[in-house]
């Protein structure tokens, strides 16, 4: 018999902090660049160097921890995490262990199934590693003749966020990550680009009989490089574990790798290979003491967070909950919306355009709002053209497509196309007349009381006019002419 299981999911998230310089030296912390150009003796781990803590990183980490309702430790300690890896210059990573920056937070979220809450176990600071490039066709270590190291990323400040195992479905995991990302964007603490690796997420997954409170054997899933990958990997892993349990098997505690091409998770290493990191307090740094006034200073400077913004969008602009949620799913989305509204467009119209045409465009291309060529005021202008009846909605949609491609002003596109609406009575009558002449059968149907026939005729007129005819006027003229000749 098939068991009724409940998934237990906890996430471990790494986000690169948006500081100008690295965690323990003054090197440029930005993404990319020629390999090994953003390095110095400190981040290369040369003999004799010492780390100096980046105060800005502490401030950004504190910001996020407060936004996640965490308690900030008045005194926290950096530890060395010891293991050999060629992309780690010192062969230890400066991280935090039993005395992290912040503990005990939570996020309250909403899914289609209702509200849920995810506990935040801890938030801590550490340094990123370099990158290893393997000289093989696959880019993986297997079969590579040699490997190259790029230390530009070594020492970039990283935030680690660990959740309680409070997540029950892949959808909840996706919603949590979406919200966390949006919070980080609103706080301007991280770029949150999953593809560039500035936001990374691992998951611990186990199953247990529904209603049970004990935990099953878990696996750790790595290499989920997008929200979609996160969702699919968790979905896959849950059904993989369910199949094993249903067939009487046992889950092996191990780390598994999400293979997005094959749509499966594959084993990476089992528990027997567990590292002993030999953590001990970093003697080159003094304990970090964050006094009350620092913490309160950061708290009072926190900007509006997504949850508040959502509430405000509903109250201030009268948007439905669904709209408000989508428009605050990223900071850029909300900013775009408010930009268009402040340029004079009606909120609901802006929301409709963004949730419809704009989102479809972004999704189809895998793009984000900041990459879009259209500005909020251009969208407001387009909406204005529709409201004033200068263009039909149908026409506006094609104008919008062109705006997305070229970034040009809607008014220019409309003029150039000669695409303004035909509202000339005589011209419209000529068009309607021609359509009636061509469709005697439909005219007959209408007269026999088939109301739907009218819609067909309007459509024909619109087609003939290349979408430019004023639909309202066409409707009136049609009704009048049909009655007159009848």
């Amino acid at each position: 018999m098939m068991g009724d299981y409940e998934a237990v999911i906890g996430l471990e998230i790494h986000a690169e902090l948006k500081t100008r310089s690295k965690m323990f030296c003054s090197c440029d912390a930005s993404f990319g660049g020629e390999p090994n150009t953003k390095t110095c003796p400190v981040c290369l781990g040369l003999p004799g160097v010492l780390p100096v803590l980046n105060r800005r990183a502490v401030e950004l980490a504190t910001r996020l921890a407060l936004a996640l309702n965490c308690e900030i430790a008045p005194r926290c300690v950096f530890h060395r995490k010891n293991y050999f890896y060629p992309d780690m210059p010192k062969n230890y990573q400066i991280s935090q262990y039993d005395l992290p920056l912040a503990v005990g937070g939570f996020l309250e979220l909403e899914s289609e199934e209702g509200p849920f809450r995810v506990g935040i176990t801890r938030v801590h600071l550490e340094e990123d590693t370099g990158k290893t490039l393997h000289a093989s066709e696959s880019g993986r270590i297997h079969g590579s003749e040699y490997s190259l190291e790029d230390f530009n990323r070594a020492g970039v400040p990283l935030l680690e966020i660990v959740t309680e195992p409070d997540i029950r479905t892949p959808e909840q995991a996706r919603i949590f990550m979406q919200e966390l990302k949006s919070i980080m964007e609103h706080l301007e603490v991280s770029d949150c680009k999953m593809e560039e690796g500035s936001l990374r997420c691992d998951a611990n997954v186990s199953l247990r009989p529904r209603g049970s409170s004990c935990l099953g054997v878990k696996t750790e899933i790595k290499n989920m490089n997008s929200f979609r990958a996160l969702y699919r990997a968790l979905d896959y892993e849950i059904s993989r574990q369910r199949d094993i349990l249903d067939s009487g098997g046992e889950i092996v505690q191990e780390t598994r790798h999400w293979d997005a091409d094959a749509n499966v998770t594959t084993p990476l290493r089992t528990k027997e290979y567990a590292y002993d990191y030999r953590y001990f307090p970093e003697p080159d740094l003094v304990p970090l003491v964050l006094d009350r006034s620092f913490v309160e200073g950061v708290r009072s400077s926190l900007p509006e967070l997504p949850a508040e913004r959502r509430r405000r969008f509903r109250e201030e602009y009268g948007l439905p909950a669904h709209d408000a949620a989508l428009l605050t799913s990223s900071k850029a989305m909300g900013d775009f919306f408010e930009g268009a509204v402040s340029a004079g467009a009606p909120p609901k119209a802006v929301s409709n355009w963004m949730m419809g045409e704009l989102s479809a465009y972004l999704n189809a291309r895998g793009m984000e709002v900041p990459e879009v060529k259209v500005t909020p005021s251009q969208l407001a202008e387009l909406i204005d053209l529709v409201e004033k009846g200068t263009v039909s909605v149908t026409l506006a949609k094609s104008v919008f497509q062109e705006m997305l491609e070229s970034g040009r002003d809607p008014r220019l596109i409309v003029e150039e196309k000669g695409a303004t609406q035909i509202s000339d009575q005589e011209e419209l009558e000529r068009l309607v007349g021609a359509v009636l002449e061509e469709n005697p059968k439909v005219v007959e149907d209408f007269r026999k009381g088939k109301e739907k026939a009218l819609g067909f005729l309007v459509g024909q007129v619109m087609r003939r006019s290349g979408g430019r005819a004023n639909p309202q006027m066409v409707n009136e003229i049609l009704q009048r002419l049909l009655r007159e000749s009848g």
């Binding site: 003796p41 040369l46 003999p47 004799g48 780390p51 050999f84 190291e149 001990f280 003697p283 080159d284």
Partner: protein, 475 residues
Amino acid sequence: MIRRREVSALEVFRAVRDRIEEVERKVNSYITLTLEAAEEAARAADDRLAAGEDPGVAAGIPLAVKDVLCTKGIRTTCGSRILENYVPVYDATVVSRLKRAGMTMMGKANMDEFAMGSSTENSAFGPTRNPWDLGRVPGGSSGGSAAAVAAGEAIWALGSDTGGSIRQPASFCGLVGLKPTYGLVSRYGLVAFASSLDQVGPITRNVRDCALLLALIAGHDPRDSTSLNVEPSDYLAALDGGVRGMRIGVPRELVQEGLTPGVRKAMERSLEIFQELGAEVEETTLPHLDYALSAYYIIAPAEASSNLARYDGVRYGLRVEGKDMLEMYGKTRAKGFGAEVKRRIMLGTYALSAGYYEAYYGQAQKIRTLIVEDFRRAFQRYDVLVSPTSPTPAFALGEKVEDPLAMYLSDVCTIPVNLAGIPAISMPCGLEDGLPVGLQIMGRVLEETTLLRVASALEVAIGFRERPKAGRGVG
């Protein structure tokens, strides 16, 4: 004399260079000589003096720098095969401070590999010999620095001290050696052995030079987070205070068994002198010092095991190729590190391992806290504490190489000072069988001035003028 232009910097340089040419083959104080650069520096000092400019306090005074301090463009080996050809791209903070003061560096001094040892026999570049008796060790790990000054191959030197590595060789070579308060001198560019214990300090012929050199290297460094943000004191001005009215304590735990008769006698003579000069001397107890050696041999190796992990053949230093990365790591470190370094890496790795951490590292840290507390309490009553620097004078070459525990015991009196982070100075206070004996004077945190004052009083009273003699040594 140079500043008064009684002698030119170049003349001093040449005299010391000639001395190096004469005795270096016997003593082996240096791993790398930098005589051309030193000559240039001496000439520059003379030019500036001739032009009426200030060449800097250190100008024209030949200096030996322990090869554990990074020197830009000059190889820095730490006495190890693994860094045999390593050339730093930056100067240690103490080196750049001295450069600004006109430094005339004769070379990089020999040392026990990564400063691990008490005899300078653990060097990949051969042992250094004691200028007082070439059959004996100069102490360690800063043995090259001490031997260079004792043999006249340098006027003064920089060493580093993690468990006695400045004071013990100073004691063995009849010199003044100071381990400053932890955090007084920047560790930036000092290749780490045990980060929470390491300090850079001077090894000199007399207390005055010690105060001068300390003044040049002390002070806050933003590149070292453990560096104390305090203004250094006026060390030279401290020399003449005398010891009248001071209270001097002698920790019972540091004068128990193991002292040679000559060491005991020289120490007792010093205590009498202090009393004659008007100080009050009494025996006291710091009960937890008995556990200092054990705690040290957990903490120092633990930190070292992590600090030395970076020498893996990937980015710099020695690389021995292997069929894969792991084999390359193994072969490189097997060939690159000597036996003592490997021993300590294994000790430290073990002490930090899951399941052992609390029993070893955790316990050792607790002992450390108790030792700090012992000293704090003692310094409520005493201005300084004194003990022998080492239980014995210089021992014979090869005598303790095969017996690590006997070697470790050589530092039994100096180690507690590093664990407590306090300053201590070693002063020549007599001879035993023609070999120098050192007295250790320990003080409160940041009270180097008090140490220098007591040391200066002793120096004047004893009038230690002995120098190595030809025959056994390099006279």
